[in-house]
Symmetry: C2
Subunit: 348 residues, 2 copies
DNA sequence: GTTTAGCACTCGAGAGGAGAGAGTGCTAAA
DNA sequence: TTTAGCACTCTCTCCTCTCGAGTGCTAAAC
């Protein structure tokens, strides 16, 4: 696209003004920008050109201009300056990143909350697990005669436990035997490899302890399955209503309903590299998002796992600021959670 | 309050009609009720009386009547018939209660989602922990030379674990010593009882293993603190917008914002017995809830812990149906999670 | 050739008013 | 005590009108 420098200036001015005010921008308003010493009439001509190029739109004849999705795209690709976080902002983000070393779930929940608060848009996070998880290690701890804690550790270094109650006593040798069997025959297996045949064989081997074995294996498969699935979080939904574009309930409601449906969110775009991605209006495939923009960053949880954190809002948004914040935050999360960091942070 | 049988009939008719239509109810509409063979004029007289008693209201002169909060209260206390769940409804609820035996958190999250879907109102759940938690048992499992899994079990039978990495090697005797020290000197202590003095004494006792000890204790205190705090979940927020009373954004927005603020929710009423409680309009203390009703049931998680599950909606709601569903659901949750049930369900 | 001033024109937002309809309260009759 | 009749009230909806912002075009100025 070949665009004169002046047109670019005007386009940027329109977009930035519209981002700030949510009102269509007229030629007069633009002409007041000190850097552009041109009359409204000239600007009108230029704007007509920009409209013909598909970068601006008129809500109706003889209203001001607003940026079209294509205009935003051009802005994001070519005109947007790298926004730098203010000291205060980095401070806020850093404070948020000093999350307690809790379970991953909580870190993610907290992260969405913080990013939503910071950007003033609803935010969502999806953490995607690796496709095949196996158990690396089993431990059986006897608490009381018929009470055990089973601890399993996956090959992704996730440790989970559960309290089990048995209906009958077991001897110490039986427990020992079971422990060994678990750590020899059931480690390194994917979900599919735990077959009824295998269980049958194990039954022969452990005898009376089979009841406990099935409970342990049931738990292990639950953990594996859980690790392999997505976890979705949304925060700050209600903030959407603060924006004039969602003053109209007819418009706001379907979007809110869509964002409330966590299963739907997992279909949102998943960029695979670590850049911040921006999806503007119709660039989103989902119908409910046609009039909204999604800004999403991806972070590294380590061990084959990637997470996404993003925000959803009207196409009129300050992409520069938002993108910078998400980038900084995702980067921080990667450092906090990723392979480089302290493994213990990934417990749960 | 002394009210004639006929007045009660009329009040009930007004309330039930208003619940169904959300429109002020006129005398003509009521007179059409087959069971009440009285003319509109008579009904007008009666309604004027009911209004004088504060049970009905007129949005403006010469509109129909709508129930006042007091009217709803009277309805709930004296007129409401026990709603019986349909077979289909119990089926739905039962299916929902067959939740996976996952962590408590998840069960609660899932429960709010189900109840919100069923009632079509936003729902919330709060699980309150006991006020003093102590650690009953510590286990240290060595995974690799410098990697340990620490497993702690609270006196409320909650088991949690974490993966720890050490900067230096430890001998087997040191680990053994630490393990014993933990299980003798640190069990049964509340958060306040873990003093710097105690830590200092422990330092003398374990020597080099002190680094590991602090990590373990840090984790234990984190677990205790977590167990003692509330967990809040909200689901189905956007459903609020489906009701005509929230068509007006000015009205909907503050409420949505309030419900999004999880910390605010923990201030919601906490009934202490196991009945379903109903708080109508101004009976709620929170300003944002003045125009809404809260229906809440409490369920037993066992071991000193109680949870709440409730819904929030316009004062015009079908209290009978909602209360019945919540009651059934809370009862089911109690059976699933409570002292009577399988303790293993409470793992996490 | 480009830029600017002038001007008629367009279109939505918002104010104001008229009419319809639902429902009331009061009065008087049954 | 109940009911019918009737004047009255008040909101809701639709319509019209005006206002103003902003445009596109034309012609003059640079």
């Amino acid at each position: 696209m070949n665009i004169s420098e002046r047109k670019k200036r005007i386009l940027r001015a329109v977009i930035e003004d519209y981002i700030a005010t949510a009102e269509p921008v007229g030629s007069k308003t633009i002409s007041k920008h000190a850097e552009l010493n041109i009359s409204p009439a000239t600007i009108r001509n230029e704007m007509a050109d920009l409209e013909a190029m598909g970068l601006l739109e008129q809500p109706y004849t003889s209203a001001g201009r607003i940026p079209s999705p294509g205009g935003y795209r051009f802005y994001v690709n070519e005109l947007m300056e790298q926004h730098r976080l203010s000291l205060q902002e980095t401070e806020h983000l850093n404070a948020a990143l000093r999350l307690k070393t809790q379970e991953l779930d909580r870190v993610i929940t907290e992260a969405t909350r913080v990013i939503s608060k910071l950007t003033k848009y609803p935010s969502y996070a999806i953490s995607a697990g690796p496709s095949h998880v196996t158990i690396r290690r089993f431990d059986l701890l006897q608490v009381e005669q018929q009470t055990f804690i089973v601890v399993v550790m996956t090959d992704t270094n996730i440790v989970k436990n559960k309290l089990l109650r048995l209906p009958a006593d077991l001897s110490e040798t039986q427990i020992h035997l079971l422990n060994r069997l678990l750590n020899t025959s059931f480690t390194g297996l994917t979900l599919e490899e735990i077959t009824p045949d295998l269980m049958e064989m194990a039954k022969q081997a452990v005898g009376e302890a089979y009841a406990l074995l099935t409970m342990v294996i049931a738990f292990a498969t639950e953990v594996m399955r859980e690790q392999e699935t997505y976890a979705v979080h949304v925060s700050g939904l209600a903030r959407l209503l603060e924006y004039p574009e969602y003053r109209d309930l007819e418009r706001a409601q379907p979007l809110l309903a869509y964002l409330s449906e966590e299963s739907a969110l997992s279909a949102l775009p998943k960029p695979d590299d670590s850049d911040v991605k921006i999806y503007i209006g119709p660039e989103n495939v989902e119908g409910a998002l046609q009039d909204t923009s999604v800004v999403v960053a991806s972070y590294d949880i380590g061990e084959n796992m990637r997470g996404l954190i993003g925000i959803v809002g009207p196409t009129r948004m300050d992409y520069a600021k938002i993108a910078a914040r998400l980038y900084y935050f995702a980067d921080g999360l990667t450092k906090l959670l990723g392979s480089g960091g302290d493994q213990t942070k990934r417990k749960k």
